[in-house]
Amino acid sequence: MIDTSESRMSDHRLSTRQMAEFVANGFLRFDTIVPADINDRAVDEMAQLNAERLLPDGMKPPHSLTPLDECYPAPSAIGEYLRLPQIRGIIDSLVGPRPSFDHDWVHYIPGGGTYLQPLHVDATADSSDPTFDIQLFWYPRAVRPGEGGTRFVPGSHLTRVRSSGLHRYQHIVGEQQVACDGGSVFVFHHGLWHAGQPNPGAGDRWLYKIRLNPTEPQVRRWNTDDLDAVQNPPSDHFFARMQPGSVAEVFRTWHPWMGITDYRNDQMQRALLWRYLTGDDDFDVDYYLTRLEGRADLMERRG
């Protein structure tokens, strides 16, 4: 049984600033977080899983709803990756210590592969509550710029869209394409717009993606030692007074594809997600929620 006690995780949980960046951008990046020996052994295992998962016999992924701790028991390089304390610290912070397995997939793009995946979100149009799944994208081999790295749109994760509705967008300003050293992991909010890309390079592009569902409220699961110091009051307002170094400062990240209305709406959605994550129902950034809630209160008091 894996030890997921609070004390073991304490050194590897995310900071409040990292959590705020995840809320503002929809992803976190961890370069070379997986040791080289696990990356080396994992590629063979990924290839086997990729080849056999849909065959009558052979290697199979876990069943959906399997507790993460029971996925890929030893000996398994994928299991070793999922049980790395630094990976579990990330997972615990975002979806708690007992997430369940949703699904995984190996995305293999051989050198010279030309398939261009349209921009999409996984699964269905989102629910209206702020709960979220995470998807970990693990690249065990280096991905050179333009050679099959996943395309994604920072800040797109809190939109309400249908997957096929995004196919139209060939290019969006501010989008990124993964390029990284081997052993790097990108953690996506499940709503982040993304797409596989062609690989004109000579080397194969390997990606192991896993989606995890929280089974408990995602409230204050990270290392909150710094939370009180950076949590701003609801009065924190760009057009009035601001607290330097606060969560609100992170939430003022303006992605290049956003017009002014998109930006303000997204700030409101970030604030609502942060209220869920922190349990602080008064939290706000730039006063958008507080202003409306104050006026709503007038109607309540009218009797």
Binding site: G165, Q170, G174
Partner: protein, 103 residues
């Protein structure tokens, strides 16, 4: 006389350009684009910005200056009740065309 054995080569071809702007005016900044080329590469292409990820035109008006004809502007719709503060698709979509005669 035209060569009737190959009528497809004498047909005007359409190029379509989608631009998504960051506001409702054609003067505003391009934040997304998509290009569909009915000439299959034989006609004029988008300007090479020399910088990956940089839009081919700074605004909708700059596309007009490069010979693109506006076909459709985004309709301005009030948000549905309860949806006032939700983002979805890129809102300000403008569709352009160029008609390219066979050479």
């Amino acid at each position: 006389m035209a060569d009737r054995s190959a009528p497809q080569h004498s047909t005007t071809r359409q190029q379509v350009l989608y631009l998504w702007l960051d506001g409702s005016s054609l003067e505003e900044k391009v934040v997304g684009w998509a290009f569909h080329d009915g000439t299959d590469g034989a006609g004029p292409q988008l300007p090479d910005t020399g910088e990956p990820g940089k839009a081919p035109y700074a605004s909708g008006v700059r596309a007009l200056c490069d010979g693109w004809m506006l076909l459709q502007s985004a309709q301005l719709m009030p948000p549905a009740p309860g949806q006032e503060h939700l983002n979805a698709y890129l809102e300000y979509e403008f569709v352009f065309e160029r008609r390219v005669e066979p050479s």
